[in-house]
Amino acid sequence: MDLLTLIVFLPTLGAVACLVTPRQHIRMVALAVSFVTFVLSLTLFGTFWAGSGDVAIFGEHYGTLHETVRADWIVGDRFAIEYFLGVDGLSFPLIILTTLVSFLACLASWNFDSWKVNRGPRAYFILFLLLETGMLGVFVALDFFLFYIFWELMLLPMYFLIGVWGGPRREYAAIKFFLFTLGGSVLMLVALVAMYFFSDHAITQAMVEQGVDVIESGYRDGVGVTHGTFDMIELATNTAIQGYFGAKSTLFLGLRFAPLMFAFLFIGFAIKLPIVPLHTWLPDAHVESPTPISMILAGVLLKMGGYGFLRICYPIFPSGGYTLAFYVAMIGVVSIVYGALCAMAQTDFKRLVAYSSVSHMGFVLLGIAVMTKSGMQGAMFQMIAHGISSPMCFFLVGVIYERAHHREINRFGGLWLTMPKYGTMATIGFFAALGLPGLCGFIGEVWVLLGTFAARDMFPWAIPMAIVAASSVILTAGYILWLIQRVYLGREREEYKGFLDASPREMFVLVPLAVLCIALGVLPMQTVFNFTNGTLDLMLAQVLSGAGVG
């Protein structure tokens, strides 16, 4: 069995195993499975290091994939949906992130029994592992159809995990999450179908024009294309398809094809990111879901939106991205500032962290929207960095919630004195979210800001946007420091005196994240950029030439 399939479906196997495990051992099985998955995903590094020296192996040409698995799945005569998995610079760090966060979240679920829910652990851990399969599948699937299936697959366990094991308003939150995501999926589905048919037409037309039976594949040597395809890389690289997609005369529903499809996909992915004003599911989902699920939600699920942009929206519809850049960037900037302002207004600890996610993911959107090298690199980095710092923050909130049974910021105080170890970890986590240099949050923000600025040649509006976005450093510092002051500093309160400091298990979750926060901040090249930049730069070059500006 090949590596990627194993990684993706191992959690499913684990879920099956959970079915028959005695109740008291279920969490053990789940932890073991998620840990093995994590270790297996680490073996992907082997692929990378097998490459030659300093040059990233993920950057030979756009579409260089590794560990590919390719098999026909559903085939008709002009129709082929493939089981097509692969890894490149876009997905690689996200896979590692997913397995890591899942493992840590599983560890965070260890005290399941004390959650005071009347549902047993069996269903919880089964759904948890299925969720992991869904997430991993999204990141490795390269066939759009398969991608869509994994996308929906991950939705359902999440719905139940929030809706059954959540807080008091869990059903509201779960439905909200579900409806929003589903709304996005509908548009994505339309795009999926339209892309297939239009690519089919493009290929047919090209075959007629050139008088050949088969069109050469855009990225695979010696392979031909004879009909429409769901292969995301093919859609992005095949000149015939790209030419037809990007042509001004290609219309769909009376509008230009590329911008329209871009907009459809954009909304689909942006809901997940999320963007203002489609973000309101996020705070509710976070507040209501149990801590480990919050960690996954913030750490991995939000990244799917950004990944979707980088994998599908921009490479396949570069001209769409270029045409709509202003609006996309505008949404990004609004998300940054608005998210920060909303965060400042919150008194619920978890809600505050949730809004800060909106703000941080705005940077991802802005970085991608401006289509510059450092913008894209920064956006990718920001995704990873946020994938590390936000689960940490959510776990920190969870730790204190388990002890205090409330999350009112104003009712806390002096926790650093009561719980020194925990306080130290909290400082690292929240300062990483603040974007302090030397921690992971900084690199992404600065890269994106400088990238936005560098887009001045292409987009005259880039400078004001960069300046407004940069002003958020003040707002971010404002709400995070205010939070730290209210929760961790100040005089120790009577009612919290008896709180135990972070337990070894909790430290085991926090320390790896803290170490990564620092490692990413100090050595961005070695931890992220080396893996991502090769693919990103090539992808960007292709996007720019596709948009007619490169």
Binding site: N118, G163, W165, R170
Partner: protein
């Protein structure tokens, strides 16, 4: 005044909407099931109509309709089984009252 594909589609659309209405207003589990059957039938009708008027000799639409019938039968069998079970346990098939599985 020839009968074209649109005519059948309109009939299908009406059936679909009726099915939808039934699904969303009935609180009896079997009632909802009936709505589902209506929706399934309307889609099967569409498939057959398309097959007839623009299938160009291929039978995909009919085959698909055939499978729909099979699946509908299976689904009805299961659903009725569940309903009977629910009824046995709760003495009602009012879906709004069957809330034991809620978390």
């Amino acid at each position: 005044m020839t009968i074209g594909v649109t005519h059948f589609l309109v009939v299908g659309a009406v059936m679909f909407c009726c099915g939808l209405y039934t699904m969303s207003t009935k609180r009896n589990a079997i009632g909802i099931l009936i709505g589902v059957e209506l929706v399934l039938n309307s889609s099967a009708l569409n498939l057959v109509a398309f097959d007839r008027y623009m299938g160009a000799g291929r039978l995909d639409g009919q085959i698909m309709a055939l499978f729909i019938i099979v699946l509908a039968a299976a689904e009805a069998a299961l659903a009725v089984g569940i309903c009977i079970n629910v009824y046995r346990n709760l003495a009602t098939v009012d879906v709004d009252k069957a809330t034991q599985l809620r978390g």
